[in-house]
Symmetry: C2
């Protein structure tokens, strides 16, 4: 398998954790999002990912798959051990809804192309752009932290003590929050889950700083 | 089952289609997103949906489920007929990636709370706010339409001729595009799929104008 990735992309980070947890070796194909106007927008890359975003997974049958959560569900279906979703439908819905809260409500607003639109089209200054970035993380984390703190299913990780799709989304998002110096003492459950997860080898090896294209 | 919904919410619209396709009767609980500062932000609603967004599905065991795609996967697992995902892992990944392209790359940017932030915090004028709204639909539709036009799996609907999760996401997003007078002749495959889908009874009954809280 081959993963088109950028070390700092949180969507790619999610998939790297999944591949590591499943014990699947893969070729790392770096796509530099900032260099030369963005390698993700070049025609060569658009052939595997028409949207021009990372990640893309190309499976052993040479089929490209786009969108991190679709890739992770695919890996979980084709390589079921260890499972990344719980055993019952209602628990799977719980885990997926946490993952989607990050993937649909927080992460899309802080994407590179959105920040670029704010800066270049709306002429928003750097302070307002940073405030935007923090706003979506902070408002999302506030409800997510309360929800996890209240749920009896929460353990050392999001769902008990075994990594699930939810942890794969939380860890990269908390990593970004740290990069932007967001005060994580306000989100103690998320911070605690993050600290526990990054000790796990599969998460540690997926971290941005551990990638071949890290700067 | 009970669905907390707002007639114009495209995420709720997706779930309404799924419930109709599965032939599942449900109680419709309207949550008015604009009235009285937003009913979705009131403490009563936050008990079933801490994020304060629609939809929420409360299943027959009184368990609330948040996030439209998690709800639809749950319905598909607990009521498998007719299936909303194809029979093979690679085709499921294809359908999920189309759904996620809309749910993660287009829809979040045009959400009510985002448009409010643009207006009230960034003081963006109405023309620039409308341009923002169109930009994310148009840039997303351009790549999505090309992708669907090129894929041999595309039929009268996104994946052959049977409704899948992808159609459940495309129809509400095209509906919004029409509302904002986006020129759909530039996205002929999406428009063709939309026109075909809205003839199907389960889609027609889920349309915003057919809901009890329609204005």
């Amino acid at each position: 398998m081959k993963l088109y990735s950028y070390f700092r992309s949180s969507a790619a980070y999610r998939v790297r954790i999944a591949l590591n947890l499943k014990g699947l070796p893969y070729e790392y194909a770096p796509v530099h999002l900032l260099r030369d106007g963005g390698e993700q927008l070049k025609p060569e890359y658009r052939r595997v990912n028409p949207e021009g975003v990372v990640p893309t997974l190309v499976d052993d049958a040479q089929q490209p798959i786009q969108q991190s959560l679709a890739i992770i569900e695919y890996l979980d279906e084709t390589h079921p051990e260890p499972p990344l979703l719980p055993g019952t439908a209602i628990d799977r819905a719980h885990v997926r809804s946490i993952a989607l809260q990050i993937a649909c409500e927080i992460h899309p607003l802080d994407n590179l192309r959105v920040l670029r639109y704010l800066k270049h089209t709306l002429r928003v200054d750097d302070a307002a752009k940073d405030a935007w970035y923090r706003h979506w993380i902070e408002s999302g984390f506030a409800t997510l932290d309360a929800r996890l703190a209240d749920d009896p299913r929460t353990g050392t990780l999001c769902f008990g003590d075994t990594p699930t799709l939810a942890d794969l989304c939380i860890v990269p998002q908390v990593f970004n929050a740290h990069r932007f110096s967001i005060d994580m003492t306000r989100y103690p459950t998320l911070q605690r889950i993050y600290e526990h997860a990054v000790q796990i080898d599969a998460f540690a090896r997926a971290a941005p700083g551990a990638q071949p294209d890290a700067e």
